[in-house]
C-alpha cells in the first residue's frame, strides 16, 4: 500500500494496480484516472471541468498500451494475434483519387451512349435516386457520351480510354472493379466513408487499423505514411484533411504521418543550430524519463504514444533524409516515372516515394491526388489530370513488379465516388460537366492477394446502376484487409461500448472474386 499521488486524505489508500484484480479492470481504472488527473492538474477550475466533460469520451477510452497477454517486446500484432491467417500482402499502397474520377470517361466503356447523345436518360434507369443540389434542379438529364475513344488492350482485351495510355499497358496486371458503389453523395462524407468506414469523422482510418493491427516492420519510419500531391489550380480541388489519416479512438501513434509536398518533407526535423545529435539524445532521454514517471503515476496510455512519437521523430531525423534522397536512383527510374518525378510533390514523385517506402518496410502508404471533381469543362480538365497521374500509376506498378515487390504489396486505386453519365450544365459536342455519382464507380487493385487480369462487376448501359456483383465500400475495405491477412470481423477495438471495426456494424463480406 502506498499513498496515491492524488489522494489528499491523510489515510493511506489502496493502489488498484497492486491488487489481485483482472487486468481489464486495472486498465479501465487506469483510463478512468486520466480524468481524475485532468481535473487534479488543472487546479479544479470549473471551466476546465466543463471542458473535461467534453473530452469525457476520450478519457474513458480503452487502452491499447497496457501490456496484453504477450511478452514484453512483442509487436502489437503479435499481442493481438494478428495476422489472423498467412497474408498474401505484407504492405499496401493506396492511390487515392480525391474528387471522384469519371468512370464513364476512363474505365467503364459504354459504346451505346454515342447514339444517345443529348437524349434524356430514362426515368427507369435514374429511378428515385437522390441527386446533389447542383443538378437536382436541372430540367433535363441529357446523356453525355464520353468525348474520348476506347480501345482494347492486353491479353484480356480490356477496354480503356485513350486518356489512360499507360494504364492501358498494365491491364493484364489489374483487377478492375466496375461495380464499386457508395452511400454518400458529397465529398466529405464519401471520402470519410472510403477511408474510415463511416461518413462521420472520428473513426480510425484504414491505415491506422493496419498500423494498430499489424504493427511496424521497421523502427525508423512510421508504419503509416501519407503523401499529398501538389495542387493544380486549374483543377477543382476538394479539401483533404488530416481527419482522413486520423487514428480516431485508437492511440495517436497509429495516425498517418504526412510528408509535405514541398520544402522539407517533415518540418523542424533538422536540429537547430548549436544542437547536435548527442544533445538531442540527452534531452530526449530526460523528457522520456519525466514522461515515464508521469505514466507510472497516472497510467494515461497516451503518455506512451507521446514517448513513442518523440523517439520516432528522433530516428526520422536520419531516416527521412535517406528516404527522400533520390540521387542514387538510376536513369531507368526516371525513364519509367518520367521527368516530373524529380520534382517533389508531383504525383509521379509520390509514386516513386511510395515504392521507396515499400522497400523500407513502411506498412501502408497513401498517396492523395486532388482535382478529379469536374462539374464542368470535363474535356478541358480531364486530360490534364490524367496526364498528371496515368504514368505514375503505371510506373509504380511496373517498378514494384520488376523489383519483385508486387508479390507482397497490395496496390489500390480508388476515388470516393464516380460521376454522372448525364451532363451537369450545358451539353455541347465539345464539352460537358459531370456531377457526383455514388451508385457505381470504377476502381482497381493489383498485387499481393489480388486476382489479376480480371474485370469485376458490371454496370447498366448508362453506367448508372450496378447490375452484377456490387462491391460496397464495406466489402472493398474487407477485401483489402483480407489481402493483408486480417479478418475484418475480428480486428475490433472496444470503444463507447461497441466492438468497433473498420467495416462498421452493417455486415460486410470479402469479395472472393477479387482474390487470387
Amino acid at each position: 500500500m502506498k499513498q496515491h499521488p492524488l489522494c489528499t486524505d491523510t489515510e493511506q489508500c489502496l493502489d488498484v494496480m497492486d491488487l489481485a484484480v483482472p487486468p481489464e479492470l486495472k486498465r479501465e481504472w487506469a483510463a478512468l484516472q486520466t480524468r481524475r488527473h485532468f481535473l487534479g492538474r488543472t487546479g479544479k477550475v470549473l471551466g476546465w471541468a466543463a471542458m473535461a466533460s467534453l473530452f469525457g469520451d476520450r478519457a474513458l477510452r480503452g487502452d491499447a498500451h497496457a501490456p496484453a497477454n504477450g511478452l514484453p517486446g512483442m509487436q502489437a500484432g503479435e499481442q493481438l494475434k494478428l495476422p489472423h491467417f498467412a497474408p498474401k500482402a505484407k504492405r499496401a499502397i493506396y492511390l487515392f483519387m480525391s474528387g471522384g474520377p469519371s468512370q464513364v470517361d476512363l474505365l467503364d466503356y459504354k459504346p451505346n451512349l454515342a447514339a444517345l447523345y443529348d437524349k434524356d436518360i430514362p426515368d427507369s434507369v435514374r429511378g428515385a435516386q437522390q441527386l446533389t443540389g447542383m443538378t437536382a434542379g436541372q430540367a433535363r438529364f441529357p446523356v453525355a457520351p464520353s468525348h474520348w475513344a476506347f480501345k482494347r488492350y492486353g491479353q484480356t482485351g480490356t477496354w480503356i480510354s485513350d486518356l489512360l495510355p499507360y494504364t492501358a499497358r498494365m491491364v493484364d496486371d489489374l483487377a478492375i472493379i466496375k461495380s464499386t458503389n457508395t452511400e454518400a453523395i458529397n465529398h466529405e462524407p464519401a471520402i470519410m466513408l472510403m477511408n474510415t468506414g463511416n461518413m462521420n469523422a472520428g473513426k480510425p482510418c484504414l491505415g491506422s487499423w493496419l498500423a494498430y493491427g499489424l504493427g511496424s516492420m521497421n523502427d525508423n519510419l512510421p508504419t503509416f505514411m501519407v503523401l499529398q500531391s501538389k495542387l493544380n489550380t486549374k483543377e477543382n480541388n476538394q479539401p483533404v484533411s488530416s481527419r482522413l489519416w486520423s487514428s480516431g479512438f485508437l492511440s495517436s501513434e497509429y495516425a498517418g504521418v504526412g510528408l509535405r509536398s514541398a520544402g522539407d518533407p517533415v518540418l523542424y526535423l533538422t536540429d537547430p543550430g548549436g544542437v547536435d545529435r548527442e544533445v538531442r539524445r540527452n534531452m530526449l532521454n530526460a523528457v522520456n524519463e519525466i514522461n515515464r514517471q508521469t505514466f507510472e503515476e497516472l497510467g494515461d496510455p497516451e503518455t506512451h504514444a507521446r514517448i513513442a512519437q518523440y523517439e520516432m521523430a528522433y530516428r526520422m531525423q536520419t531516416s527521412v533524409p535517406e528516404l527522400a534522397d533520390l540521387s542514387k536512383e538510376p536513369q531507368s527510374t526516371w525513364d519509367l516515372y518520367g521527368p516530373e518525378a524529380k520534382e517533389p510533390g508531383t504525383f509521379a514523385y509520390n509514386c516513386l516515394m511510395a515504392r521507396r517506402m515499400a522497400e523500407r518496410g513502411v506498412r501502408f502508404t497513401q498517396v492523395y491526388k486532388r482535382g478529379w471533381d469536374m462539374h464542368d469543362n470535363v474535356t478541358g480538365i480531364l486530360p490534364v489530370i490524367c496526364q498528371e497521374t496515368d504514368r505514375g500509376c503505371y510506373a509504380l506498378v511496373t517498378d514494384l513488379k520488376q523489383r519483385g515487390l508486387l508479390d507482397d504489396t497490395l496496390v489500390v486505386w480508388a476515388g470516393e465516388f464516380g460521376r454522372t453519365v448525364y451532363s451537369q450544365g450545358g451539353l455541347t459536342k465539345d464539352n460537358y460537366g459531370r456531377d457526383h455519382h455514388p451508385r457505381c464507380y470504377t476502381t482497381w487493385m493489383t498485387g499481393g492477394g489480388v486476382r489479376t487480369g480480371i474485370t469485376y462487376g458490371e454496370t447498366d448501359d448508362y453506367s448508372y446502376n450496378v447490375v452484377k456483383d456490387p462491391v460496397t465500400v464495406r466489402d472493398f475495405n474487407a477485401t483489402i484487409l483480407h489481402c493483408l491477412g486480417i479478418d475484418h470481423n475480428k480486428l475490433t477495438y472496444k470503444f463507447q461500448g461497441l466492438d468497433q471495426k473498420l467495416t462498421g456494424p452493417v455486415p460486410a463480406s470479402v469479395v472472393p472474386g477479387l482474390l487470387a
Partner: protein, 484 residues
C-alpha cells in the same frame, strides 16, 4: 409348411433358443425375405414420384441417426453389463428399439430415393447397406437370448461385430451421398493423402484441354455431388465428357454452339429461387466467372479437345505449392525476443498460427547485418519461411547458412554484394518459390542453373548483369488490338 419347419428346425439346431417360438422365427424370415425383395418389387427408376414421398423421405437424414446412436450403444451396454447387470438387461430393449427405428429409417430412405428419383452406385450401395444392416440387427435380436443363457457364446458377438461393420460402411455411403465423395479427404494433409489415396493425379487424362482444365473442375465442384457416379439425379451424370454430352432422361443438357438452348446453362442462370434453378437444394450458385467459362465453351462448340477459347483469357495464376507447416516455435519465444533485442533484426510471425512460420526482417539494421549475424539465426532456421536480407551486408558466404533454412519459401537478397557464386547451394531448399536478386552483380551464367529448382517460380533479376535495367519507352505505345 414342411419346408419352413425344416428351415426352422435347422436354425434351432444352430441356435438353440428355448424361448423363441417358431412363429417368431417364421416372422423374422418372412420379414428379411421381403426386405431383400423390396428393391426388386419397387424399382428405383430415376423418375421423381409423389411429393409426399419426398417430403417424408427428407426426414431420413434426421431419423437415421436414431438407430446409429442406439446400435453403437449396444456393444457398450453388453460390455459394461458384465459388471452392472442392469445395463445388460437394458441392452435387449435398446436393440429392439434400434431395430424398430432401423425399419423406420429404411422406409424413409426408400421413400427419399424413390420419391426424388435418385439412382446411382452410391444410392444402391447405401440401400443394400441399410437392408443388410436391418437384417443383421434382427439376427442379433434372435441370437441374443441363447447367448444370455450361455447356450451359444460366439454367434451373437460375431453378429454384433459384423452388424457394426455394416453400420460403419452404410453410414459412410450415406455421408458421401449428402456431402460428396471427397468430403472426408478434401482437407487431408497432402502427405497423408499420398499415403492413403495413392496417385493424386491419376484422373486427369488429356489435362491440357480447356474441358479438362476448366470445365471439368467447375462441374466437379458444383454438380457432380448429385450428377455423378454416387448419385445420378434425373439420369444425368456429369463426371466425364461423354456422360455430360449424353445428357439425362429429358435429353441432352448441352447444345454445342447454343448456350441459350442448353438446359445446363439456362438452369444455372435462372434466379436462385426458381424451382428449376441449379445447383438445387440451396447449394451455392455458380460463380459469374464459372458461368462465363461454361457459356463460352458451349458457344464455341463444347469441344472436348480445344485447348483455348477465343476471347477467354485465363490468368493461370500458377498454383503455389501448399504451405508446409513448420514446427511450433512458441516455446522459443523468450529466446527469440532476447535475440531480437540483442541483434536488432526481428523474427516476425507470418500469422497468429505458429505453424505458418517466421519472417526474418533486417530492415532496421541492414547496414550492419552480415554473414555472422545471419549465422546466429541458424538456431531458428527450421521456423523461418522468409528471409528479408535486401540491402544487408551479406555475401556469397551466406549461401552455406541459408542452405540450412529448410523451410525457406522466399529469399530477398536485392542490392547485396552476392554475385551468384555458390548460389546453387540453395538447391536443397525444396520449398523456395521466391528469390530476389535485383540490383546485385549476378550474371546470366550464374543464375542459369536455377532452372533446375522446380519450386522456384518467382526469380527477380532486375538491374543486374543478367537483366540490365532497360529504359522505358519515352512515348507510350498502346499494345492495342483492333477494336471489335
Amino acid at each position: 409348411m414342411k419346408l419352413l419347419e425344416d428351415v426352422s428346425a435347422s436354425v434351432d439346431k444352430l441356435l438353440p433358443a428355448s424361448r423363441l417360438t417358431r412363429v417368431q422365427w417364421a416372422a423374422s424370415v418372412v420379414m428379411s425375405g421381403s426386405l431383400l425383395l423390396l428393391p426388386f418389387l419397387v424399382r428405383l427408376d430415376g423418375t421423381p414420384h409423389a411429393d409426399w414421398q419426398q417430403f417424408l423421405g427428407r426426414f431420413h437424414p434426421l431419423i437415421v441417426h436414431i438407430p446409429i446412436g442406439l446400435l453403437v450403444l449396444v456393444p457398450l451396454l453388453e460390455i459394461v453389463g458384465a459388471f452392472r447387470p442392469a445395463l445388460r438387461e437394458a441392452a435387449e430393449f435398446v436393440l429392439a428399439l434400434a431395430f424398430i427405428s432401423c425399419m423406420g429409417a429404411l422406409t424413409l430412405g426408400f421413400l427419399l430415393a424413390y420419391g426424388s428419383g435418385d439412382t446411382g452406385a452410391g444410392v444402391t450401395h447405401h440401400m443394400w447397406g441399410g437392408i443388410t444392416l436391418s437384417i443383421s440387427v434382427l439376427l442379433c435380436l434372435l441370437a441374443r437370448p441363447s447367448w444370455l443363457l450361455g447356450n451359444e457364446t460366439r454367434f451373437y458377438p460375431a453378429t454384433l461385430a459384423g452388424m457394426l461393420l455394416v453400420l460403419l460402411w452404410t453410414a459412410h455411403q450415406g455421408g458421401s451421398l449428402t456431402h460428396g465423395n471427397d468430403y472426408l479427404t478434401r482437407y487431408m494433409p497432402v502427405s497423408m493423402k499420398r499415403w492413403t489415396l495413392g496417385n493424386l493425379h491419376a484422373n486427369t487424362p488429356g489435362a491440357d484441354t480447356f474441358y479438362a482444365r476448366h470445365i471439368n473442375s467447375i462441374l466437379d465442384a458444383n454438380c457432380v455431388a448429385c450428377h455423378g457416379e454416387g448419385k445420378v439425379k434425373g439420369g444425368l451424370r456429369m463426371d466425364s465428357y461423354e456422360l455430360l454430352m449424353r445428357g439425362g432422361k429429358d435429353g441432352p443438357v448441352i447444345v454445342p454452339g447454343h448456350p441459350e438452348q442448353s438446359p445446363l446453362l439456362v438452369r444455372v442462370t435462372l434466379p436462385p429461387d426458381h424451382k428449376q434453378f441449379m445447383p438445387a437444394e440451396g447449394r451455392p450458385p455458380l460463380k459469374p466467372e464459372e458461368i462465363t467459362l461454361l457459356k463460352a465453351w458451349v458457344q464455341q462448340g463444347a469441344s472436348p479437345t480445344a485447348t483455348t477459347l477465343k476471347g477467354i483469357f485465363i490468368q493461370e495464376n500458377a498454383k503455389e505449392a501448399p504451405l508446409q507447416p513448420v514446427g511450433d516455435y512458441s516455446s522459443m519465444m523468450p529466446e527469440i525476443l532476447r535475440m531480437e533485442s540483442g541483434q536488432g533484426a526481428k523474427l516476425l510471425p507470418v500469422s497468429s498460427k505458429p505453424s505458418d512460420g517466421l519472417i526474418l526482417t533486417t530492415v532496421d539494421v541492414a547496414a550492419s547485418f552480415g554473414d555472422t549475424q545471419l549465422a546466429q539465426f541458424l538456431k531458428f532456421a527450421p521456423f523461418i519461411v522468409e528471409a528479408e536480407l535486401g540491402r544487408t551486408a551479406v555475401t556469397n558466404a551466406s549461401f552455406d547458412t541459408l542452405s540450412k533454412f529448410t523451410h525457406l519459401r522466399a529469399l530477398h537478397l536485392e542490392e547485396t554484394a552476392v554475385t551468384g557464386d555458390g548460389l546453387m547451394k540453395l538447391a536443397p531448399l525444396s520449398q523456395l518459390t521466391y528469390l530476389n536478386l535485383s540490383g546485385t552483380k549476378v550474371t546470366a551464367a550464374a543464375v542459369a542453373p536455377l532452372d533446375s529448382m522446380k519450386s522456384l517460380r518467382h526469380v527477380y533479376l532486375y538491374n543486374t548483369p543478367a537483366q540490365p535495367a532497360t529504359a522505358a519507352d519515352s512515348v507510350p505505345q498502346p499494345i492495342a488490338k483492333t477494336a471489335q
